[in-house]
Amino acid sequence: MRYILLLIPCVASVATWLYNISEPMLFGIPFFYWFLMLLIPVSSIFIWLAARTGGDEL
């Protein structure tokens, strides 16, 4: 589970077929850009979840 949680943001970050598009836009920013920027805090959450489920000391 720990490894799957860590793998999800990694795969999403290089899944260009998923995000190399301009629609839908957000505040005039193409999807490509706001998706990647949103993925940054999301990846933090996944790492935190991995620590939680893996029993790593935090």
Binding site: L6, L7, F32, S43, I47, D56
Partner: protein, 508 residues
Amino acid sequence: MNGINVTATAVFIFFFALVTILGFVAARWKAGDLNELHEWGLGGRRFGSWITWFLLGGDLYTAYTVIAVPAVVYAIGAYGFFAVPYTILIYPFIFLTMPRLWNATHKRGYLTGADFVYGAYGNKWLEGMVALTGIIATMPYIALQLVGMEKVIQALGFPHEGMAGHLPLTIAFLILAVYTYRSGLRAPAMIAFVKDIMIYIFVIAAVIIIPAKLGGYGAIFDSAQKDFSAQLATNPNVARGILLAPSQIWPFVTLAIGSAMALFMYPHSLTGVLSASGPKAIRHNAISLPAYSLVLALIAMLGYMAHAAGIKVDNPQDAVPQLFLAMFPSWFVGFTFAAIAIGALVPAAVMSIGAANTFTRNLWRPFINENMSPSQESALAKLMSLVVKIGALIVIIFLPTQFALDLQLLGGVWMIQIFPAIIFGLYTRWYKGGALLAGLIVGLALGTYLSYGPASWVPVSKAFLGIPLYNGLTAVIANVIVATLLSFVLPANKSDELTEADFRDARA
């Protein structure tokens, strides 16, 4: 250039003086005996979560990054955004591997990645090659920090050419060299607080004020795409645009993955991690450091804002400084330029310390003098930190900048080649030291060969099935194949002083 911008320069000098004082005061911070290498070169491993956050943030997101990433975005568009997936990939990796490395190094008294490699495989030639790769790859990286600094000093209105043009840079760098010599890693750790806070302030200001002046983000992306389309009409050979062209996808993906694998092999990254107070501080940072990646993504957007602001520069690396000059009042220009220049000091200091630690522990000790006392180690490392920085300064002053850029590109390709020796070693000792050494040499040779182009060095080539892949990644795959095959036939390692318990968190 029509003269020096006095207000901006005054603000710039004020902040520069402030961090200089901090650099010297730092020697007494969390006091320790600076005549021991783990005190001078790793801050006594006493940096908790917060200090590590500022130090690693300051160390990894360098001045060169602040200049170079938006420069690529300005020049070709979405492709420059590879830095974002790259920095997303780093943190799950750090979270998994670096606490294990910290535990083993702490338990066994290692100070560098190459120390760990020797402990795991008992092969001093492998240790030496790992160390040499790290040092050679770090040198041009330090030189590029100077380029970042020089760009903002020139933008303040100082002359571009001749010895007078290099004078402010030389003075700044010599001051840095002296306080790093005195205070060791404590100096960049303390300066990183100032630097990072300044960067956060200017980025937040930039992404609010500049779009407001330019008519919003929609207008910014539109005008960037319009410029790219016009450029494509005159030169269709170079793909550009606010989305990735099909030909850019594989390079984008493999460059992100390869760069992420290489980053934590650099001595300066490992120095930042190993100076943490424990595995907990490292895990906290794996979760909290992505805040800097968000800043990096926003900085990358500055490349598009330069288009919308009508900035036209021959060298894309001038785009961001010129954008700030056009958009901000002088005092704030001074503030942002100071942030970028100080942003060069922190990584330059940590890089020189990382390279100096590695040189002392993994080249001098095994090959020249096996019986160094702790104070001899510390004295030699201090001296090496000076040599490394002066070497970088000479490269920038006397050789064309392209030389440092090419070496930096090759440095990444080389650095990734020590990944198998260090990271595999954290989980298994099945690999043989000699096999990893052979793999490393094959990887270095292949990576260099692939990067050679008749006109210029290139990061990407079509070595495999005609797909354009990052050379570092192609070469490290060959490296692993060689290391794996040879591990079947070579005799067992001479020594392995590590046990699985060494990698686990010590229970309080």
